[in-house]
């Protein structure tokens, strides 16, 4: 009987698997967006969504295992994401300047 009450109180706390499932769902939505979107900025934002899903996994593990390493990884991932945003948006501006469009199908070859 004691174990039943323990599991019931356990169920009220968010489990590690809850966070992992949420992260999986967010990552999958991001993948879907990257595949179906044609606008290059929208694809860029879906990539950011995937990065955030991975960050959630890191923080969840770091919190449940009481290890700060996961949060340091998140910190570095955020830095990489910021660098990616700067360079990626520079590329987007360069593409728009050369082709007057943001459709990735119009930019399928590297040549002008």
């Amino acid at each position: 009987m004691v174990s039943v009450t323990e599991t019931e109180t356990n169920k009220m706390e968010p489990q590690l698997s809850w966070y992992l499932a949420l992260s999986a769902i967010l990552f999958t939505i991001g993948v879907t967006g990257v595949i179906i979107k044609r606008n290059i900025i929208a694809m860029f934002m879906c990539i950011e969504l995937m990065l955030n899903a991975v960050n959630l996994t890191f923080v969840a593990f770091a919190s449940f295992f009481q290890d700060v390493t996961g949060q340091l990884f998140v910190f570095i991932v955020m830095t990489v994401a910021a660098a990616e945003a700067a360079v990626g948006l520079g590329i987007i501006i360069a593409i728009f300047r050369n082709r007057e469009t943001l459709d990735v199908d119009e930019a399928s070859i590297l040549k002008l």
């Binding site: 706390e13 968010p14 590690l16 809850w18 966070y19 992992l20 499932a21 999986a24 769902i25 967010l26 990552f27 999958t28 939505i29 991001g30 993948v31 967006g33 595949i35 179906i36 044609r38 606008n39 900025i41 929208a42 860029f44 934002m45 879906c46 950011e48 969504l49 955030n52 960050n55 959630l56 923080v59 770091a62 919190s63 295992f65 009481q66 700060v68 390493t69 949060q71 340091l72 998140v74 910190f75 570095i76 955020m78 830095t79 990489v80 994401a81 910021a82 660098a83 945003a85 700067a86 360079v87 948006l89 520079g90 590329i91 501006i93 360069a94 300047r97 943001l102 459709d103 199908d105």
Partner: protein, 219 residues
């Protein structure tokens, strides 16, 4: 109580993520993405990671999204037109692949289900700024330095990519007789490090060297 909060923020995050993909206007997608970031920051607070939550709001919802919105408005993106999609099989393929991915992850989650971790509610210093900082500057100093080099490369790369050709802005104008160039820039036969100042022979020549237009001095 915590479970209710989790469901609230998780639902908010998933809804905003779906909106990011479903919206046709990139600006609406960007606003929805800010919603995802905010709800994830709330989840980080629930996971006892206040520093990461603050950085999430400041860096992601602040800096990166401002950059994205700025580019969207700079490029004046019109709404994505419907029916121009050449690859019609792409949407069902994407949904099927997403289902496969979800199934895979669910399988992994179910198969490791016996491995149960209970969250420790006891006060710990894992998520606070002090522990992150001390680890970052001792044990993980090398990744930290590599990250700074990466940021430097990103700065240089972004400037190089976003710059127009030529060193001056396209609105700059050449005034005849006002420019002096090193002789190595004008004469291909001169030594490359010869920096003797020379006036170009004509305004056209100066404008061509600078990559800009020119206007008369009287103007």
């Amino acid at each position: 109580m915590l479970a209710l909060l989790f469901i609230l923020f998780a639902g908010l995050g998933i809804g905003c993520a779906l909106a990011v993909v479903a919206q046709r206007n990139p600006l609406y997608s960007a606003i929805s993405l800010v919603g995802v970031f905010i709800s994830l920051a709330c989840l980080y607070v629930m996971l006892a990671a206040p520093f990461i939550a603050a950085v999430q709001v400041i860096v992601y919802a602040g800096a990166i999204m401002v950059l994205v919105v700025f580019v969207i408005m700079l490029l004046n993106v019109e709404q994505e037109e419907r029916g121009r999609m050449r690859l019609k099989f792409l949407v069902p393929t994407a949904v099927a692949l997403a289902a496969v991915l979800i199934a895979e992850i669910a399988f992994i989650l179910v198969s490791v289900q016996e491995f149960r971790v209970t969250p420790t509610t006891a006060a710990s210093d894992v998520g606070v700024t002090h522990s992150i900082g001390s680890q970052l500057f001792t044990k993980y100093l090398l990744p930290f330095e590599i990250t700074s080099i990466l940021l430097l490369m990103a700065i240089v790369g972004a400037m190089t990519l976003a710059r127009r050709g030529g060193l001056l802005s396209p609105t700059a104008r050449v005034i005849p007789g006002a420019q002096q160039f090193p002789v190595s820039l004008i004469d291909p036969n001169a030594a490359p490090d010869d920096l003797t100042p020379v006036e170009p022979q004509s305004t056209d020549e100066a404008a061509r060297l600078l990559g800009v237009g020119y206007r008369d001095r009287d103007e």
